[in-house]
Amino acid sequence: MTLLALTISFIRKELLGTLRQPSLMLTILVGPFVILALFGLGYKAKSSYPTILVVPDWPQLSTNKADYKEVIKDTFELVRISKNLDEARNALKTGEASIVIDVKENALDEIYAGRNAIFPVYYRNLNPVDSSYIEFSLYVYGTEFNKTVVQQGFEAAKPKPGATQKLDESVNLLDNSMKNGDMVGARTQVSVLRALVVVSAQQLDQLYLPGRSNNQTTQQKLLVKQLLDVVVKSGADQAKADLENTQKRLDALETGFNQNDLNSPAQRTQLESIRSSVRSNNEKLNRLNSIPSGVMVEPVLLKAQNQIASTVNYINFYSPAVIILLLQHIAITLAALSNVRDSQLGTIEIFRVGPVGPVQLLTAKLISFMLLILLMGCLLVALIITILGVPAINLEQNLWAILAVLAATIYASIGLGFLVAGLSRTESQAVQLSMVLMLATIFFSGFLVPITQFIEPVQYVSYFIPTAFGASELQNLLLDGQVFRLEKFIILLGVGTVYLLIGLFLYRRQYKVK
């Protein structure tokens, strides 16, 4: 009964204290929304860096940036073309450009000398995230540049369509010569056909086919069940067989010519067989030719599919985490300032003298703060769902789990707040400690940097930060409708209880008779 009366009194105290400060209400409830809305509206998800392209001083190279818009785009915003490297690098210092790409005039010499041509890229950036992004983008652009060059090479190396036409024409001419009794003409066409078959066979041998390799790498093995499949699936083997068949029939035809048999039914049969093989071969070659060089350069593409149940974007991802971070901070500061303020005001003397112990007092404060902050948390979750459009997958089934996550996070945070109060003598000390905890939370809770990017011992720090559990669980529940992870919940409750017990121990020191 005492605890109930005390709890109600503290709820009234905190609620009325908050309601009587409209600016505080605005800060707590509206502040996060304004921040998230501005973030959502203003964030463009990728950076754009002013770039100067330095090209060799050759007359045929233009300095009009429009001519290079296909080469430098997206991440690199081409501001101008220069032919003077020193002047361009100086622009990095003045801030005119963030990146300078230097196209070396000896690039081709280097390639033919058996070395990679290197285009130096200069940039000036203090931010490690930006620096990594620039370097990653450069890698992507380098790959794209090379792909374009290789693609052009593949295009040039394709079997020429003229060879297949010539095979057809030559078979027709042979047919005509045989019908017209022109032995000389027929022999000539047989020779022509032999030469064309050799050329076609050579082209087939030189043709690059994905998966066709004697030294199969893991990547090749992933593509091909067995070596035979490559030639079977590509049709190159049949094409070769067609050419060999053509060669044999030409031999047979020529033997008949030597016996003065120019156009007997047997010779006609050989001719039709040659025609059929040539047609078949041409079909195969046309099919191989029809594969775009872009596909040949990039035969395999990895197509990513995120299996979570909602759309991934920054607002959706950060809104639940921001709410949890905010609730943790409010709980810590509210609990810490409440106890420190009682000491500074002298209210603690009333508590000490009265018939109420420290355990009862802290329990009443804990319950009242929990209820108030939980109410605030529910309101914030409802607002991000309704106003910011953050998805809530399986909301009905997960409602209790969401409440449990909020409650556990708030419980542990209040415990942390009592601990902070025990370590602080003044309100400013408590606020400073709360801010330090906020900083630790931002770095080690996975809020900013994924926890997995830390070495293992540092990852354990996250177990002591309520937001680490709360933010990831609320994100999982809301955005993916995942199952509630009981073991993490129990760990957080345990950590929160340890904080509470330490806080209680420190608080009881004030009750000690001096």
Partner: protein, 331 residues
Amino acid sequence: MDVQIAPPPQELRVASIPVIQVRDVTKKFGSADPIIKNLSFEVEPGQIFCLLGPSGSGKSTIVRMLIGIYKATSGEIKVLGANPYHYTNHTRGRFGYMPQQFVLYPELSVLDNIKLVSSIYQMKLLKRAPKIKEALEFVNLWDVRTRIAAKLSGGMQRRLNLATTLVHQPELIFMDEPTAGIDPVLRARFWEHFKELSKQGHTIFVTTQYVTEADYCDKVAILNEGQLLAFGTPDEVRHEVIGGEIVNLSLEEITHPVLSLLRQLPGILKYEIITSQSLRLTVDNSAEATKDIITSFQEHNFSIVSIEPYRPDFEEVFVKLLKNNERIIKE
């Protein structure tokens, strides 16, 4: 002149058990000199007990020992029959404490503050309303019950402090300098409140540095540098310090025969010539001395312009007491 600590009246000790018993109490913080030195006194039920002393004399330390915040280095303390360092919740509920400063929540209203304190004193939610109203009406704050404490005047904040001390209707009320820093009119009103509480049967233990307030009390203990200099009713203390009672005598002319007569009269302890026509006499009993003087002067045909008993204010008593104490220490 040194004043002996007067023991509590015999009849009171017999009639009832003292509410507060302090015996040979000394309090030291660390290795420093004792703040309270060998202190003993008792407070009877229903009394207004005033602990009077200058700032830093140890008044608040004694209150804190009585309410269980400080522990005596040596000696024995009993409050409501209990040792303050082992108070049960039941005993804690029997007394109230009003700290020197305003210690309630400034952002809460008068009513919310008193409700919070009433819940600390385990007052039932549904039954506390009349007592809260009673306490606020007692200190004339009922009409401003919805006002935020931060917007109350200093005097009102003190009265709110008092109301929160009274709300659970304690038998014994400790007040640490409740009138410090407030104007004389309000101080007088506070003492009216205390008198009223005393009439209602509450025992009040109050500390003050305003010596004139001693006259409001049933018992006074005068404290200086942790030592009890005087103890008793205000008149007893006054008598002890002055060495008797005072009678002011005005004559047409002070002559040797007059002075010679005064020296011969019984009950006149000493005289002091104030002006050429007035004398201040220290006597055992002012009423008897007045009667004897009038009779003797008539017998000797000495004329008297006026004769009246004089009750020196407590400030004078206090200054004299401190001077006496200083002289004794020097000697």
